[in-house]
């Protein structure tokens, strides 16, 4: 593996290797609970908590985890923190917990989290693992809030439940339904691909000119 600096560990997950938009991990919650910004934020917060705690614990205990059972150990660690997040959300943010329903428990199987444990925390020290987890968590938050914002603005005509367009706006209901999740993700990825292509074309032009 290439040597990276701590700041690279942190930033990588936020944009260049954004878990949802680039790595295509954790798509299930990204599609399911982004029908409003509030839900997206609650989901992101729970995921952020789980990925940070799991990364710290896995990198701390990596010496004691035999290779053969590492995946089950990681899942156990992740599941524990998910259960804690589930109970705490239910106690302190019951309205949000009700909205997110089963998707909180499904954070366990978010491969974005397991992926970070296997690919990073199991090989790096606690500090760098935490940075990496935080970066990934923030990247996940950005992607979810982006989708949530897009869907809530079009599907409800509001942002964070604050109405934007007045009473005459006819909400585009499909955007808050599951189909809207796929449409939104598709368009966001399309946009990202377009800019990526233009950037590459621009770089190629530059290279030609210098040559």
């Amino acid at each position: 593996m290439k040597k990276t600096t701590p700041s690279q560990d942190f930033i990588r997950g936020i944009w260049n290797e954004n878990p949802v938009l680039i790595q295509m991990l954790g798509l299930c919650p990204a599609l399911a609970v982004t029908n409003s910004v509030k839900n997206a934020l609650a989901m992101s917060a729970a995921t952020f908590f789980v990925i940070c705690c799991s990364s710290v614990l896995v990198s701390t205990c990596k010496r004691f985890i035999p290779n053969e059972v590492r995946i089950s150990a990681y899942i156990l660690v992740i599941a524990t923190f998910v259960t804690l997040a589930d109970m705490m959300l239910q106690a302190y943010a019951p309205a949000q917990h009700k909205e997110l329903g089963a998707f909180i428990a499904l954070i366990v199987v978010n491969c974005m989290i397991l992926g970070r444990q296997e690919a990073f925390s199991a090989k790096n020290n606690v500090f760098r693992s935490l940075l990496d987890a935080m970066g990934t968590g923030i990247g996940f938050t950005i992607a979810l809030v982006m989708m949530g914002g897009f869907r809530e603005i079009l599907g409800v005509g509001a942002f964070l439940e604050y109405p934007l367009f007045g009473p005459n706006f006819e909400p585009w209901v499909v955007m808050v339904l599951p189909a809207g999740g796929f449409l939104t993700l598709g368009f966001i990825l399309l946009g990202m691909g377009y800019f990526e292509q233009r950037k590459k074309a621009g770089q190629a032009d530059k290279a030609e000119q210098t040559a």
Partner: protein, 249 residues
């Protein structure tokens, strides 16, 4: 047995540590997971001890709020359990509270029975819709309705509680049983409810929950409504009893 394994294996762990690439004993694999599982369980139990009371208190508070909300003018209420076909304030010793159906009898400031509230659920379009409604036991007229829990389709089925036009149809004094009709197709009969366009199943589910709830509870209430528990003196209790007589007619 499992209690002993981890400690033994833990002590042995450092010896196995050095040749990391070599095969690890099955015992150690089991021990690692056992210890990890036990620690995870312990952590969850500790947090649960802390959050459970908060969650329960919140749920109870929500229910209490809903009971007052659906019975306007009610100052206090009593929870009655259905024990062997009769209403009782107490459940038999050793029985679990959750096993009994219950009904909430609401009284006004004079301890007069104002209405009864029932919380029940039935299948909607996606999942069970849980709601609370209240009615006047004497006239069977509706007093109010509130959806407690629903996972109906956002934008369509969730109108059963987000759309005021639908919710406001369950007003005080509405005749029962409720009759679902399409918007514009009503014949002006008492008890007609306009269903939501695009969410007929959810709307009908709400109406069915109320109708079935009435079918279930009215016969029980007709057999006799317990008098208001003595709280605020004898005169009020007497008044409450006359109120009960009226109600049982």
């Amino acid at each position: 047995m499992t209690g002993k394994n981890p400690t033994r294996a833990d002590a042995a762990a450092p010896e196995h540590e050095a040749p990391a690439a070599e095969e690890v004993s099955t015992l150690r694999l089991m021990a690692t997971l056992t210890v990890a599982g036990a620690l995870a369980g312990l952590l969850i139990v500790l947090v649960n001890l802390h959050t459970k009371p908060i969650i329960d208190a919140y749920k109870a508070e929500q229910l209490q709020q809903a009971i007052y909300e659906v019975m306007p003018g009610v100052v206090h209420y009593e929870t009655y359990y259905l024990v062997d076909g009769a209403l009782s304030l107490k459940i038999p010793d050793g029985a679990k509270e959750s096993e009994f159906k219950r009904i909430y009898l609401g009284y006004d400031a004079n301890d007069r029975l104002k209405g009864v509230a029932v919380s029940r659920g039935e299948s909607g379009f996606q999942d069970v819709i849980q709601l609370i409604f209240s009615f006047d036991p004497a006239t069977r007229k509706l007093l109010g309705m509130k959806i407690l829990d629903s996972k109906e389709t956002p934008g369509l089925g969730d109108k059963i509680y987000k759309d005021q036009a639908f919710a406001s149809q369950f007003f005080i004094g509405l005749e029962t049983p409720l009759i679902p009709v399409k918007i514009g197709a009503g014949k002006g009969l008492p008890g007609e409810i306009d269903t939501i366009t695009g969410a007929t199943i959810s709307s009908k589910a709400v109406i069915n929950i109320i109708n079935h709830g009435l079918d279930e509870w009215v016969p029980i209430l007709e057999r006799g409504i317990p008098p208001a528990p003595e709280i605020s003196g004898k005169t009020e209790t007497a008044e409450a009893k006359t109120g009960t007589k009226e109600a049982t007619q």
